[in-house]
Every structure is written in structure tokens, then in C-alpha cells.
């Protein structure tokens, strides 16, 4: 496939074929990651800046490892210690970074739309590693890839529940886009204070009762609850939230056989997911992390190997 995109900003701009191509490419990298020597030279000489203006461990590490396994040079920059803290505007910061001639900037930022904003100002590729509440496309792609491996690429008609703080979740927005495109039936479940406005127009069924929401589902993606939602007056108490929305084995008795559990991490055990369930055989949480590296290798390859995109991944 001829990869024509400059940037990865959201799921909306990807076609189904492109999403399937990303999954297909990711499979090759899963294989490479299982070798004893995991490094391939396909992005030798390319440089990637990891600009994380918001705290992150797994996404940043995952991108860093993905870049290094492809032999690209990666450089990390956090907002603490960067000139953003000295009051430099985001535009000036990224123009400065671009002047150092990276091939891509991977950015995490706390404001919705910030990835698209910098992409408009930059000639290098921008990969969105999460912008505010808007989008987290690599997370959605790794969630999709993880399920494609257990569902053998068959998403049609699968019932998928996203549980938790939908309103403030970029993961939820990107997952909804992705799984709707792939043909799944989407459900969301949250207290009304954590639902975004306008969900009546979305192609999803909305539940406020977790037990009912789990009826017949094939997979549940439980989201992290930020503790500051209580301070903002959206919840009376985290404990009360857990009593209504903590996903446990008991909810899954009426789920479809073979139901799978996902969580983008980091988990609050006992708040949005029971500890036992997180560690159970139904849980794909660590598979998601493994898939994450492969998906990000695939993305770096697709975005950076152009115009030599037809080149084959070398055998080890």
C-alpha cells in the first residue's frame, strides 16, 4: 500500500483498508519482537523527537523502543525542563524542534487539537500520542490490533463496551471511531456526569447500569478514572464510583463466551477494574502493551520509510 499521509492525528482520517494495513504491518513486527535480536535497520539515519508535554510512561517508552528497534534515533523532550515552562508558545517550540531536522515529532499534549495545530505548522510528520480529550490514535490502533489477534481479524457485529470516564477520554473517542469503522456495535457506560454532550447523536448505545451494559458483550475496554473528577464535583466519591462501575467477574457472567478485557493503563485496581479480573485469563492488558510496540513500529515504518515505502522488511 502506498502510504500518503503526512501525519497521524486521529482515526477519522484513516480508511478501513489503511487500518487493516497497519494491523498487517504490525503482525510482521510482532514476529521481529519475538526474535532474540530485535533490531532491524530500516529506519537507520532517521530521527524522531518524542515531545511529551504531559506525563506518560508506557506510550513514551513504547514509541522510544519502537524507534530504536527500527534503528531510528529518538530524542526525548518533556515539558518540564523545556522552554514551554519558560512561557514559549507551542508554535515556537515545535518550529525550533523542526529546525533540527527530525523526520517525525511524536507529541503528547494536554490540549485537544494541539497535534493538528502543530501539524499545520510543520513539514515533518506529526504522530499524535494523545491530545487532550480529543484523540489517541496509536492507543486505538493497538487496541484494535490486540483484538484482531484474538478475533482473527473478524470484527463484524462484535459487541464492544467502553466503560468509564468517556467525557474526558481521548482513548474512548479514538476507540469509538476505530471499532465503529471495523463494524463493531459500540456501547458506552458511565455516570451521566462523565458522558460527553451529544452522545444521543453518536452511533453507540448508552448505559448507566454496568450489569445491563455487559449483557452479551464480546469485549470490555475499561478506562482509567482520574482522581480529580471527584474534586471537580463530577462524582460524590471514588468509592461510590467503584461500587457502581468497577468491572468485576460478576458482571461478565452474562457476557458473551470468551469475553476479553482491555485497559489502556495505568490501572486503578479496585476502582475501574477488579484486581482479580485484571490478572485473569480474560485480560489482554499486557498483550496491549506488547501490541503497542509493534503497532508503533508499524506506524513509524509507514510514515518514515516513505518514499521507500515499498521496501520489504528485512529478514532477521
Amino acid at each position: 500500500m502506498n502510504w500518503t499521509h503526512k501525519d497521524l492525528l486521529d482515526i477519522e482520517s484513516l480508511s478501513i483498508d489503511e487500518i487493516r494495513h497497519i494491523f498487517h504491518t504490525s503482525s510482521s513486527f510482532i514476529e521481529i519482537n519475538s526474535r532474540s535480536i530485535k533490531k532491524v535497520p530500516i529506519l537507520k539515519g532517521k530521527s524522531v523527537i518524542l515531545f511529551f508535554a504531559e506525563p506518560s510512561t508506557r506510550t513514551k517508552t513504547s514509541f522510544d523502543m519502537a524507534a530504536k528497534r527500527l534503528s531510528a534515533d529518538s530524542f526525548s523532550l518533556a515539558s518540564t525542563g523545556s522552554s514551554l515552562q519558560k512561557g514559549e508558545s507551542l508554535k515556537d517550540t515545535v518550529l525550533t524542534l523542526e529546525a533540527m531536522k527530525p523526520d517525525a515529532i511524536v507529541m503528547r499534549h494536554n490540549l485537544s487539537g494541539s497535534a493538528g495545530f502543530i501539524a499545520r505548522h510543520l513539514k515533518c510528520s506529526v504522530l499524535n500520542a494523545g491530545d487532550g480529550w480529543h484523540a489517541h490514535p496509536t492507543q486505538a490502533l493497538l487496541d484494535g490490533f490486540t483484538l484482531s489477534r484474538v478475533w482473527d481479524n473478524n470484527f463484524q457485529g462484535k459487541k464492544l463496551l467502553i466503560l468509564g470516564d468517556i467525557a474526558h477520554s481521548r482513548v474512548a473517542r479514538s476507540d469509538m471511531e476505530l471499532f465503529t469503522k471495523l463494524g463493531c456495535h459500540l456501547r458506552i457506560c458511565a455516570p451521566r456526569t462523565l458522558l460527553p454532550p451529544g452522545t444521543t447523536n453518536w452511533p453507540v448505545d448508552v448505559y448507566s447500569d454496568l450489569q445491563k451494559a455487559c449483557q452479551g458483550v464480546d469485549a470490555v475496554i475499561s478506562l482509567r478514572l482520574q482522581l480529580e473528577r471527584q474534586e471537580a464535583g463530577l462524582l460524590p466519591h471514588i468509592r461510590e464510583y467503584a461500587s457502581r462501575f468497577c468491572l468485576g467477574q460478576r458482571h461478565l457472567k452474562i457476557a458473551a463466551p470468551g469475553v476479553k478485557i482491555l485497559h489502556p493503563g495505568p490501572m486503578n485496581r479496585g476502582i475501574e477494574i477488579s484486581s482479580a479480573l485484571a490478572d485473569s485469563g480474560d485480560s489482554l492488558i499486557l498483550d496491549q502493551v506488547e501490541s503497542g510496540v509493534a503497532v508503533r513500529m508499524a506506524l513509524l515504518y509507514l510514515y518514515l520509510a516513505r518514499p521507500k515505502h515499498e521496501q520489504e522488511i528485512p529478514e532477521g
Binding site: S89, L90, K91, H109, L111, S112, G113, S114, G116, F117, G132, W133, H134, A135, A167, R170, R173, P196, P197, G198, T199, N201, W202
Partner: protein
């Protein structure tokens, strides 16, 4: 100044010529009076409109001269057809005392002694903090024409009530920016389908209508007028219609952007569309259009809010609120006239006669003795909105790059020509 005749113009659909003497209207006639010795100004078939009055602008000086100065703002006003503008108090320092008011008036006299004229609006509370009243009598005496806490609404209803009462002693009107700041907290656009989709914190329309209701009930209880600034949503209109039906003394304004654009233009995180109150839904825009026609809304003001380019070049939540309006307001509203949403007479009522009446400012009704404040408008003149075409330093408008139809070709204040594009 002797007699001047503006020939070849159209007033209220009738072709003719306007006679002006000593800064005042003499008459509008079909033919040149015989034997008259006068300076002739060829109006080239333009429409004659009274000079426009903008009841709501931000001129940024003192303190934010990089966004706009009184000079640049008044140049935009002159070019846009506005002869009088009411300038809000959120400058730095805040216009809450005679020295700031005096400074603004002095700047006006330095840059535009023949107009357009700025009428400062004094801060209702000291430093706009909403804690204690500004010296309102001092502000009036130094030249303020109204009081407002625009931008930082007074949530304390007791303080607001006392401010309205105290101002009424001085025969001065209070302009309220209706916003419940708790409901609107951290919001950056209208709450609804688009905000949910974009992952931006929304501002519910109830944040506005709740304060509209408060003000209406206070105006009724105190039997004292209150002017409601930049109304944007349907629920507010229903409340104002109810109030007017009950003869409660409230007046209301809206802005061209609430008549033209809805929340959909925020898509793509377009910071040019970021304004407070936010652009609302399609249904709200339709209701606003009806309300300016029916008179539920009394006036159209620009809420001219210029910003520097670099400030709007930011992620959406970081960009400041505001649309630069003086250069484009008339042309945008003439679009509504072409679509038959408004008549030209409605536009004159909304943009000149009613603001003049509400704020007790001189209005030109083209009767003998009226101030000769008027503009010549070429209804067919097409022009492209570009940064260079705009006189305001703030180039922040959603219609940048668009072609507009209708342009002020000449502008006269007290019979003196202050703009000539012929």
C-alpha cells in the same frame, strides 16, 4: 462651512440629493434648488445611511496596544461606517477612574479630532473585580456613557443590584455581560454535539440565559433599565420576549457573528471562531435572525475584540476569545439584507437609531437639524477580506479570505468627510 450637496444618492429607496449645512442636515430633495451655491459631492448612486453606532467594542488602549490602539480602532470604525463607538473598560489599567477615561478621550482627539468618536464605558466595579463599585459619578463626569463589567460578569447579585440602583441615580445605563461563570467554568466553545466530538469543554447556553433571567427579574423588581450585551441563544430570546411583553425595561444586543455562524465552524479547532459567548447551534442562529427582525433584540453591536495573530495561533483552549468586527460588520449584515432576513430599514434601526436612543447619543434621521453623520454605501461593491484591507490591528475574523458585498465608499461626521474610497 457653507452649503454642501451630496448628489446622486438613494435614501429610503428614493433617488435624490442631500443638502448639508454647518454640520447639520438641511433636506433631502429630488432636484437641485435653483441658484444655490454649494460644494458638490457626487454620491455616484450610493445608498445614504446614517452613521452607525457600535455599542460594544474593545479598543485595547491603554495597555494592549499590540492588539489595537484607539487610533487603529477608530480607523477601522471610520472604514466600517461607525461614527460612534462605546469602548469597554477591560484595558490595563482598567477604565475605573477619571484619568483612564480622560486618557482615552484625549487619544481620540489626537488621532481623530473630526471623528469617529469613542465613548468610554466605565468599569462597573473597581478593577472589574466584582467586589466594590467604581466611582460611577466620577466616571460619568469625565465622559463615560454607560457602565459595564463586560468580560468579567458580576456574579454577586446583591452587588449587581446596588450597582444598577446607584447608576440609575446618575441616569446611566448598566450593560451586563450575561454569563454564569460557574456553569461556564473552563468552557471554550458551545456545549453540544461538536464540543463532545472535539473533546473541548463546553459552555451550556444556560450559562447565559440564567443570568438573562436574573437581570430581567432585577430590572422588573427595581423598575430600572438594564442592557443585555451580546445575546447568543434561543432561551435568552424567549426570556427577553417575555420581559418585553410585560414591559420590563430591558434592552438587548447581539452581534453579526451570532446571526451568521454556528458552532460547526469550530471544527478543525478554528481559533478564529472562538468567542465568548460562543457560537451556538444552527437553531440558535435561526432564532437570533428572527429576533433582530421582530425587535426582541434591539441592536446589533460588533463586540469588536481584536487580538494579535500570534495569540490566535495556539491550541484552541489557549487562544483568546474574540472576533475583530468593525471592518466587516456592515458588509456581513448587508448579506442578511440580500437574503431578505432583514430590511435595510431594520438594519438602520439596529445599527444606528436604537443604539443612539438607548445610550442617549445623537442620531441622524435625515430630518432638518439632525447631525450630518452619514455614510455612502455601494451595495454592489465586492471586496475580499484580507489583512491589508482591514484597518483594525486585529485580523481575527472567521470571514478572512472571503468575498463580501457592500462597502462604505464615503463617511461624513458633522458634515465633514472622514473617509473617501471613490
Amino acid at each position: 462651512m457653507g452649503l454642501m450637496i451630496i448628489t446622486n444618492v438613494i435614501l429610503n429607496q428614493k433617488p435624490g440629493m442631500l443638502l448639508v449645512e454647518d454640520g447639520k442636515i438641511v433636506s433631502f430633495v429630488r432636484e437641485l434648488p435653483p441658484g444655490s451655491r454649494a460644494r458638490i459631492f457626487d454620491g455616484r448612486g450610493c445608498h445614504l445611511l446614517p452613521g452607525l453606532i457600535d455599542a460594544h467594542v474593545h479598543l485595547r488602549e491603554p495597555g494592549f496596544e499590540y492588539k489595537e490602539t484607539i487610533k487603529s480602532g477608530l480607523e477601522a470604525a471610520a472604514a466600517g461606517g461607525f461614527g460612534l463607538v462605546l469602548a469597554m473598560a477591560n484595558t490595563r489599567p482598567v477604565n475605573d477612574n477619571a484619568s483612564v477615561t480622560g486618557f482615552m478621550l484625549q487619544k481620540n482627539m489626537q488621532s481623530h479630532p473630526a471623528g469617529p468618536y469613542v465613548h468610554p464605558v466605565g468599569a462597573l466595579t473597581r478593577n472589574l473585580e466584582g467586589l466594590e463599585l467604581s466611582p460611577l459619578a466620577e466616571l460619568k463626569d469625565s465622559g463615560c456613557k454607560a457602565f459595564s463589567n463586560d468580560g468579567i460578569p458580576v456574579m454577586d447579585s446583591e452587588l449587581f443590584r446596588r450597582a444598577v440602583e446607584y447608576a440609575s441615580d446618575l441616569d446611566m445605563l448598566v450593560i451586563d455581560h450575561c454569563e454564569d461563570t460557574y456553569l461556564a467554568r473552563d468552557g471554550v466553545m458551545n456545549e453540544g454535539r461538536v464540543s463532545g466530538y472535539l473533546g473541548l469543554k463546553g459552555i451550556p447556553s444556560a450559562a447565559e440565559s440564567l443570568q438573562v433571567a436574573r437581570d430581567i427579574l432585577l430590572a422588573a423588581y427595581l423598575d430600572t433599565p438594564i442592557h443585555l450585551a451580546h445575546i447568543s441563544c434561543l432561551e435568552s430570546l424567549e426570556l427577553i420576549a417575555w420581559a418585553k411583553d410585560k414591559s420590563i425595561p430591558v434592552t438587548a444586543e447581539t452581534c453579526p457573528h451570532y446571526l451568521l455562524w454556528n458552532e460547526e465552524i469550530v471544527q478543525g479547532y478554528n481559533t478564529m471562531s472562538k468567542v465568548n459567548p460562543p457560537l451556538r447551534s444552527k437553531e440558535d442562529v435561526l432564532a437570533m435572525r428572527e429576533a433582530v427582525k421582530s425587535g426582541v433584540i434591539d441592536i446589533i453591536a460588533t463586540d469588536h475584540a481584536p487580538h494579535a495573530d500570534f495569540e490566535k495561533e495556539a491550541p484552541f483552549a489557549q487562544a483568546p476569545n474574540g472576533i475583530s468586527g468593525l471592518d466587516t460588520a456592515l458588509a456581513l449584515c448587508l448579506g442578511l439584507v440580500r437574503e431578505n432576513i432583514l430590511g435595510l430599514d431594520d438594519l438602520i434601526r439596529l445599527m444606528s437609531v436604537s443604539p443612539g436612543r438607548i445610550f442617549n447619543l445623537p442620531v441622524n434621521l435625515f430630518r432638518k437639524g439632525d447631525p450630518a453623520d452619514f455614510i455612502l454605501v455601494d451595495m454592489e461593491h465586492e471586496w475580499l477580506v484580507t489583512p491589508e484591507e482591514m484597518f483594525s490591528r486585529g485580523k481575527n475574523t472567521p470571514c478572512m479570505g472571503q468575498k463580501l458585498k457592500g462597502r462604505v465608499m464615503a463617511h461624513f461626521i458633522k458634515g465633514q468627510e472622514i473617509l473617501n474610497r471613490f
